[in-house]
């Protein structure tokens, strides 16, 4: 019924980093029917990757090297 492919740039601007976009998110555009349909769908299980380098640490390291 609805297309949740994130091809437009609108949703990208709602997030600070477009790499975070995933199929578990909906930019609603205030449409009730779409929201209810989306929330009725089965969601993916939560999964979080914990093996990333800390961006805060990267920031301080790079600032110190300037």
């Amino acid at each position: 019924m609805f297309d949740y492919e994130f091809k437009n740039r609108d949703l990208e601007r709602c997030l600070e980093n477009i790499e975070y976009l995933n199929n578990n998110m909906l930019l609603s555009k205030y449409n009730h029917d779409e929201i209810i349909y989306f929330l009725n769908e089965i969601s993916y299980s939560n999964k979080i990757s914990l093996d990333e380098t800390s961006p805060s640490q990267q920031f301080v390291e790079q600032l110190m090297s300037i």
Binding site: C14, L15, E16, N24, S28, Y30, L39, P55, S56, F59
Partner: protein
């Protein structure tokens, strides 16, 4: 780098949260950190500061005790802050002034940094929508702050493209992702709590709160969702600005009569663990949307852009 003092200008809840682990890393590396609090979200940020156990110098530049939660109080507060001298006497060896994001506090930070002859480092730089009024006033603030900062810290390809024209004039710090990632992973409990049947809601943007028709539409949506029995609980965590708008439009009783629980904001750590165990989230906040995305939560963004 030849200076061990840093001035960090913060004001909003999101700025404190996203800066938490930068501050921690600065302190670990023996920097003397001066946190200058603009007071924009005074009530919330004072509790977030407890995390650092006074390992920093705290400077407050406004005398408000409450959060800035209306357009009128915002104008009064901004005027007071901007027209005071803002000369920070204790700073002797500082070279850098760190500012974050695209809020009024970011703009204040830029002005204070320049008044104190510091090099301004803009964190979360390069975000643009190229529409002056969406989001407003953030898009205007982003443009000014990026233009006048000395060092830009970016965390995405899109931001890198947007600051390309400054590459020859300014230093660029490139991060692999937004610092909000640290705030999420560092604050989650070791074991994931069991998922419950709750919908968590948080709405506070001007275009959603001050637009009566849209606010009523949102209240109707929550009531519809409650009546569909998708969730055993709907918990709406309200900023002051939100609760004021709901009361002004006589919507609080309607919500409570239909089983929607209005709650006060809670500490960030607590909130992150709360949404991590929830079934879904509805928000209009960029930072919360991003936190939900990191946790791969079912999330509706109550915005059109």
């Amino acid at each position: 780098m030849d200076s061990s003092e840093i001035l960090y200008v913060l004001g909003t809840k999101a700025q404190f949260i996203k800066s938490k682990f930068i501050l921690e890393n600065l302190i670990k590396n023996n920097f003397k950190v001066f946190i200058l609090d603009t007071g924009q979200h005074k009530e919330i940020t004072s509790s977030e500061l407890n995390y650092f156990k006074n390992n920093f110098e705290y400077i407050s530049i406004s005398d408000n005790k409450k959060n800035i939660s209306s357009i009128f109080s915002m104008i009064v507060w901004f005027s007071k802050v901007i027209f005071s001298s803002n000369k920070i006497e204790n700073l002797k060896e500082a070279k850098y002034c760190l500012i974050h994001g695209d809020t009024i506090s970011t703009l204040i930070g830029l002005i204070i940094g320049k008044k104190n002859n510091l090099e301004v480092v803009h964190i979360e730089s390069g975000l643009r929508s190229y529409n002056w009024f969406k989001p407003f006033p953030e898009e205007i603030i982003r443009t000014i702050v990026t233009r006048y900062s000395d060092i830009l810290s970016i965390d995405s390809e899109e931001a890198a493209n947007n600051v390309k024209k400054y590459q020859s004039k300014k230093k660029i710090i490139r991060l692999s992702r937004n610092t909000i990632y640290d705030s999420v992973v560092m604050t989650l409990n070791d074991e994931k709590p069991p998922e419950n049947d709750t919908l968590i809601v948080t709405i506070h943007r001007t275009e959603n709160i001050y637009n009566k028709k849209r606010l009523k539409s949102f209240v109707n949506l929550l009531i519809k969702l409650k009546n569909e029995n998708l969730y055993s609980e709907i918990e709406w965590y309200c900023h002051d600005i939100t609760i004021n708008a709901l009361e002004r439009n006589s919507l609080t009783t309607q919500l409570s009569n239909n089983g929607v629980n209005l709650k006060k904001l809670i500490l960030h750590d607590e909130f992150i663990n709360k949404i991590y165990s929830s079934k879904a989230v509805i928000t209009d906040g960029g930072s919360i949307a991003e936190e939900c995305s990191i946790m791969n939560l079912r999330t509706v963004i109550w915005r059109d852009v």
